[in-house]
Symmetry: C2
Subunit: 213 residues, 2 copies
């Protein structure tokens, strides 16, 4: 992919129309901003072009259509996501530490790129009938595959109880998703990286007061 498509997080929230950036990059930043605030369907190409400081035909010259613009944003989100997962999976340590590490890495990446993540999140959970031709399930599948892999390692090493692999991956996904949604939703207070770790510790160690048999 062209390096021109890189989205500078600071510029997204600060000055999308910074004249030092290329028109294509300014359009991407503006698109993330508007898609995030109004949703893809309610966003207008007019507004995006204005925010980017260019005219409408420039937008169509670079992206072909409104949907093409969304596709470019999603491609960028996928790049951020898979990079985070791959580097986190390669870590060493106990399975417990690796799972916590992957979760905190994902959580931190979401925190650093809230607008882009929110756009991708909205497409992922939104109505499939109007969704663009972008396989949004790769986010879920790759992340769950990573958790399942680490969990299987933990079971094989005797670190985790036998037969917990798939359920552990699913439970971790749920807890992480809950934390991320609280981070993405402006009405709630984020739990923070420490909170993510606390919730995962609860899952690993259990809740009951009586020792297991």
């Amino acid at each position: 992919m062209n390096m021109d498509t890189f989205i500078d997080p600071a510029s997204v929230v600060a000055v999308p129309a910074d004249q030092d950036l290329q028109a294509r990059t300014r359009l991407l930043n503006a698109a993330v901003h508007i898609f995030d605030r109004k949703g893809y369907a309610s966003a207008s190409v007019r507004e995006i072009a204005e925010l980017a400081g260019v005219t409408k035909p420039v937008l169509y010259y670079y992206f072909g259509s409104k949907e093409g613009l969304l596709m470019a944003v999603l491609t960028e989100a996928q790049r951020l996501f898979t990079a985070t997962v791959e580097t986190a999976v390669a870590r060493v340590g106990t399975a417990r530490e690796r799972i916590i590490g992957l979760c905190t890495d994902i959580y931190a990446m979401f925190e650093q790129h809230v607008p882009v993540v929110r756009v991708a999140h909205a497409v992922f959970l939104g109505p499939p009938e109007v969704a663009p031709p972008f396989d949004v399930t790769i986010f879920e599948l790759s992340l769950r595959g990573a958790f399942a892999q680490i969990a299987a390692d933990g079971v094989a090493a005797g670190e985790f109880r036998a037969g917990t692999t798939d359920d552990l991956a699913m439970a971790v996904m749920g807890i992480l998703e809950g934390c991320n949604e609280r981070q993405l939703h402006p009405a709630f207070e984020p739990v923070g990286a420490a909170g993510v770790r606390r919730l995962l510790d609860l899952l690993f160690d259990g809740v009951m007061n009586t020792p297991r048999v």
Copy 2:
């Protein structure tokens, strides 16, 4: 609220334009159907009125605006939600059983009313700038309050470890949300009520193979 606003789940997915129903009810069913499939922003009142078998002015006569129609749908969703939470909280048993009971009740209610829940879910997670004047946080707040109450009971009774109340509620919310999203998203296979219970058991009993100290 008028009983006329009740949304028969079967009619929503089957024949929204059933002539035996009142125009207002047919409009509500059609709105849920269209909002669910295309999203609120992309849905057109033209299409909703046609599906309901009435003309546009009839829609505006009953609901005043497109947003009023969405508000009516959300109000119905809230009714379903709070009713489920209240009856589940009133149950007796151990805190662990009560938490599992509330989760499976919510899960089953979502399963029975997938279209309405998806619409409410989309508004809850969607962009706040275009959201209707409906406090979507009440879903999260009431549910988390219920979990925290039960968890506090469990801690007080010595059933759960001390200091786990809030984290337990958050972790349960996350796991439940993960299961519900897999149920609402057509690309994934639902975990089922048994899966929900398994994941919660994992949280209660812990994952580690070594006994806690």
